[in-house]
């Protein structure tokens, strides 16, 4: 392979990020993917679309989100930590950015129905929200296991007018919800847009989702300069499918001095086999329409992932992360459940902010790299952490984990 192009130049026209990405889909979907690709490229060059998207992000979603200096957390961690407060967006996470972008495109393509997959329910809630706003029919596929552990989000989606379909095939979690959404799309592609929730799936989804969320990094970069007069030493984010991480990384990729860290869900430990760390503990393969790092056995059968965080509990990762890993531009490390929950508790107690358990992986990762960075730099490191979501949805899980729920 020739020298890797700059990140701004990937993927190529067929959606390849180096050896990753592409389209591994039934032919029946190719026409819809081509239609989407054309609509997306046209929209990205259309001032009216960009203005409408921008207005929605500001007036409806509440962005730009703040960059907040977490002083008491910083003191405990040994780094100057700035939190990108995506948790304060409408619907409680970065995901609203992607959903609003795709919902606008859905309208432009003249489709009247959106479908989505969801794990924890956050993407499902965001999609149901946009569907209500744009008057679209909405069907959300959710693994039966997840509908049980995230009953509150199921109720939220229904409240917003969406139909939630519990998926009972396979492992009955996020990957099976994605399979079922793909099957629906193959059958209903004429009037339906599949609103994929992360920077994964077949081309153009990884590129398009990245572009809809990359405002996170654009904002954070400027906010950091405004606040500190300098760029950060490191940017940290959690990685499941990887949209929040790409969202905050992308604007920093050309800044060679800014280290990019993606923290995968180490579950009970990568060595135990019970984890969701596709880059650290997986291998190259094809899953859900794209070539990327996958948790799989020797026969290419997908291995079930494990994480205390439903939003990171996915056995693949977006292909651009696979490429950033291979080129060495970003570093991916696992954070296990226990370290993530310790960071979750630390942020609650030092800052009065309850993070999503997903985002707690990024906080724990920042905590882990801070001493190394301090030694390398000979000074206190400056780290921007993407606080990608709020923890309201996780209070039950965390309460059970810490044993603080009253006995019923």
């Amino acid at each position: 392979m020739s020298a890797a192009p700059a990140a701004g130049q990937v993927p190529d026209a067929a959606g390849h990020f180096g050896r990753f990405g592409g389209r591994f889909v039934p032919e029946a979907l190719v026409a819809a993917l081509d239609e989407l690709d054309a609509a997306y490229r046209k929209a990205m060059g259309d001032e009216d679309f960009l203005a409408e998207f921008d207005a929605l992000l500001r007036e409806y979603a509440g962005t730009p989100s703040m960059l907040y200096e977490a002083r008491r957390f910083s003191a405990q961690v040994g780094a100057r930590v700035l939190l990108k407060r995506e948790d304060l967006n409408h619907t409680g996470a970065h995901k609203v950015r992607n959903v609003l972008g795709q919902a606008l495109l859905t309208k432009r393509m003249g489709k009247r129905r959106v479908i989505a997959e969801t794990g924890a329910g956050q993407h499902g809630v965001a999609t149901a929200t946009a569907a209500a706003l744009f008057d679209l029919e909405c069907v959300v596929y959710m693994g039966q296991v997840d509908t049980e552990r995230q009953a509150l989000n199921v109720a939220r989606m229904r409240m917003l007018g969406a139909t939630v379909v519990p998926v009972t095939t396979g492992s009955r979690t996020l990957k099976d919800a994605m399979n079922e959404a793909m099957r629906d799309w193959v059958a209903n592609v004429d009037d339906t847009h599949y609103l994929i929730g992360t920077a994964a799936g077949p081309h153009p989804f990884p590129e398009m989702v990245r572009d809809f969320v990359r405002g996170i990094g654009v904002e954070a970069r400027q906010q950091c300069l405004d606040l500190t007069g300098t760029l950060p030493d490191a940017v940290a984010a959690c990685v499941g499918g990887g949209s929040n991480a790409l969202g905050i990384f992308h604007a920093f990729v050309p800044d060679a001095g800014v280290r990019l860290y993606g923290f995968e869900a180490g579950g009970e430990g990568v060595g135990t086999g019970r984890h969701a760390a596709s880059i650290t503990g997986g291998s190259s393969g094809v899953l859900h329409g794209t070539r990327t790092y996958v948790l799989q056995d020797a026969d290419g059968q997908t291995i079930e992932s494990h994480s205390i965080s439903a939003g990171l509990d996915y056995p693949g990762v977006g292909p651009e992360h696979a490429w950033l890993h291979d080129t060495g531009r970003a570093t991916y490390l696992p954070v296990d459940d226990a370290d993530a929950m310790a960071a979750f508790e630390l942020l609650c107690r030092t800052e009065g902010v309850i993070p999503a358990i997903e985002s707690a992986h990024a906080l724990a990762g920042a905590r882990a790299i801070a001493p190394r960075l301090a030694e390398e730099l000979g000074r206190e490191p400056l780290i921007v952490v993407n606080l990608s979501g709020r923890g309201d949805k996780d209070v039950h899980t965390a309460g059970a984990y810490f044993g603080i729920l009253d006995k019923e």
Binding site: R23, A28, G170, V286, G300, Q301
Partner: protein, 267 residues
């Protein structure tokens, strides 16, 4: 030169369509799947399509999903599927395999082509591999003399129909409906249109699948296609049977109905 061409030549000489019957390897067990496929051959199925089970089969409906889950829970490996191919090919029937791309990529594309050719398989149907991404498979199938069947769909543009057919060898698989595998009450209105669009751009034989499950439907499809591909309806015979003997009896009966259908094309 196409390996499966023999089956098409023979059927054409008889003035009928080829009957392709699909069954997952290892369902309900490796031996059980071999017995099922042999019963299908004896009852008149010309080509056995051995599906290698995969954990995330996005083109398959509930019946084949369930059969694949049973096979995988039983521990079936790709190597077992190749053993099934060998056992069925030994009966003299033509055998193609069908699977999603990841199991082949992990087995090794060239190694898979080599081992399938050695087992007597004629080629591979790839539901989630389009020619655009198939460089490695094109090379391996050429090197080992295997057929290649890509899918086309009612939503395919004329340009893609032509491009896809050009990359096929043996036959092209036309999906009769927009959707996943599974028997339907009605035959598709989109399928004959798709087949006639294909005829405009290619001379390669056309197989039609998705939603075909009865002798009468097979006769209808045989009226315009070169091959009739049946999957879920056959799998259901085994899935719904109380024991193996009952399953084989049901399989033989349906296979015979379908075989009669392809011999009496509705024109």
């Amino acid at each position: 030169m196409s390996r499966i061409g023999v089956a098409f030549d023979k059927a054409r000489a008889d003035g009928r369509a080829v009957l392709v019957g699909c069954m997952p390897a290892g369902f309900p067990t490796v031996e059980g799947s071999i017995a099922a496929m042999k019963a299908m051959v004896e009852a008149g199925v010309d080509v056995i399509e051995v599906e290698i089970p995969y954990s995330d089969p996005v083109m398959d409906g509930p019946v084949i999903q369930k059969a694949s889950d049973i096979a995988l829970a039983g521990g079936v490996r790709v190597a077992d599927a190749l053993r099934v191919v060998e056992a069925v090919a030994a009966t003299g029937a033509s055998v193609v395999t069908m699977t999603y791309w990841n199991p082949i990529e992990q087995y090794g594309v060239d190694a898979f082509a080599r081992d399938m050719a050695a087992a007597g398989g004629t080629g591979l149907v790839t539901p989630d591999l389009i020619p655009d991404e198939a460089a490695e498979w094109l090379a391996a199938s050429d090197a080992h003399g295997l057929d290649r069947t890509f899918l086309v769909s009612p939503s395919s543009t004329d340009a893609r129909l032509r491009m896809t057919a050009e990359h096929c060898r043996g036959f092209v698989y036309a999906t009769a409906i927009m959707g996943v595998t599974g028997a339907r009450a009605q035959t598709s209105e989109a399928a004959p249109v798709l087949v006639s669009r294909l005829r405009e751009v290619t001379d390669i034989p056309v197989g039609v699948g998705l939603g075909v499950g009865t002798g009468a439907q097979a006769a209808t499809v045989a009226g315009y296609a070169d091959a009739v591909i049946v999957g879920s309806a056959l799998v259901r015979c085994v899935l719904d049977a109380p024991d193996q003997a009952a399953g084989l009896t049901a399989l033989r009966k349906l296979s015979a109905d379908l075989a009669e259908g392809v011999r009496n094309p509705a024109r």
